[in-house]
């Protein structure tokens, strides 16, 4: 076994966690706390909304810790595949945001971006941005796989 074999799959997974955790953290800190536009679960009382945010926060914290730990582990073993890592970050962040934008907002109707009349503008911006991130991630991933060959 090669001593410094780059572990592409694990590199992607580590930054996938980081990407999801980061985007969830940005969402929670910016939109839930600072702007207070919504909570995770808005279909009940504000107290339940805070409860749901707490659960989200705990999940993102642990995801960030796990991703960070795996990332450091790979780096120290010289096994970090950089392109795969970047790809994972963008796929994680964009993927989470898109999942939130489609599944949480529209399918499950857990909450909306903002409770205004012109919600469609916010939805467009939210999902549009997530698609851009996801696209970057996928393109990076394809380039990474090509570089593997």
């Amino acid at each position: 076994m090669v001593a410094n074999a780059m572990d592409t799959r694990r590199s992607l997974r580590a930054t996938l966690f980081l990407g999801i955790g980061l985007m969830a953290a940005v969402d929670e800190i910016l939109f839930h706390q600072i702007l207070a536009w919504h909570h995770f679960f808005d279909r009940s009382t504000p107290a339940i909304g805070i409860l749901s945010d707490g659960l989200l926060h705990a999940a993102e914290l642990l995801l960030l810790a796990a991703g960070f730990y795996l990332f450091v582990l790979l780096s120290r073993a010289g096994a970090l595949a950089r392109l795969h890592a970047w790809a994972g970050l963008f796929i994680g962040a964009g993927g989470f945001q898109l999942f939130d934008g489609i599944v949480n907002h529209k399918l499950l109707q857990l909450h909306q971006v903002r409770y205004v009349d012109n919600l469609w503008v916010y939805d467009l911006a939210w999902n549009g941005f997530s698609l851009v991130l996801l696209l970057i991630g996928v393109l990076l991933w394809r380039r990474a796989r090509a570089a593997e060959q």
């Binding site: 805070i50 945010d53 707490g54 642990l62 960030l64 730990y69």
Partner: protein, 251 residues
Amino acid sequence: MLLLMAGTVWFAYLLAALWQGRRQPGWPLWRLASFTAGSALLVIALSPPVMSWGHADLRWHMAQHLMLGMFAPIALMLGKPVTLLLRSVPVTVARGITALLGSSPARVLAHPITAMMLDVGGLYLVYLTPLYLLSLADPKVHVLLHLHFFLAGYLFCWAIAGPDPSPHRAGFRTRLVALFLATAAHSILGKVMYGYGYPRDTGYRLTDIEAAAQLMYYGGNLAEIVLALLLFAGWFRREAKRRMAMAVVNG
């Protein structure tokens, strides 16, 4: 008096560590340093100036609790004090201690979920009920609360990520779930205190309560991240050992 106790325990640890240092395999210097740092945090948190600041300013009270309940326990437990104790006492005493620690009541107490309820549950009781007011009025309650914070915090940190070997320790997944629930509960409490102005009827300004709640929230987050990293590191080490052992068996 608590200061004296903390100082005595630290001194005993120092003596034991130095004694171990003369034998094989010795005692790692960094563990001594960690235990010392934890003891120092305890001493600071319980020192008279910090105590009086904590009474006057809710933010200092929060800082005290963060030190007592989270950061001192983490630093102390990384010093592996129980391992050091077991190595320093006669074998018969060590066996007695091990039997006690392995007994059913001890195992239930040290289970991550139990520890979590004692630790975070205690927080809810203190801040959402008149218990906090009572502690300000009655010094005995006050001391008991501080003691509880430290003990419950130590128990929780150890249950999640303590390095002292424990054959009956709960599995990785249980501990991860316990850490997740505790983090969520802690964050929720911080937000509830911030948003609804708890603890109530204590004469604190709302801005002070908000600042204290933020300190609790982010300080707690930092401690929780550290615990998560320790948990992962411990899991990784055990996995690596297990895989090496399998390789030896199969190879």
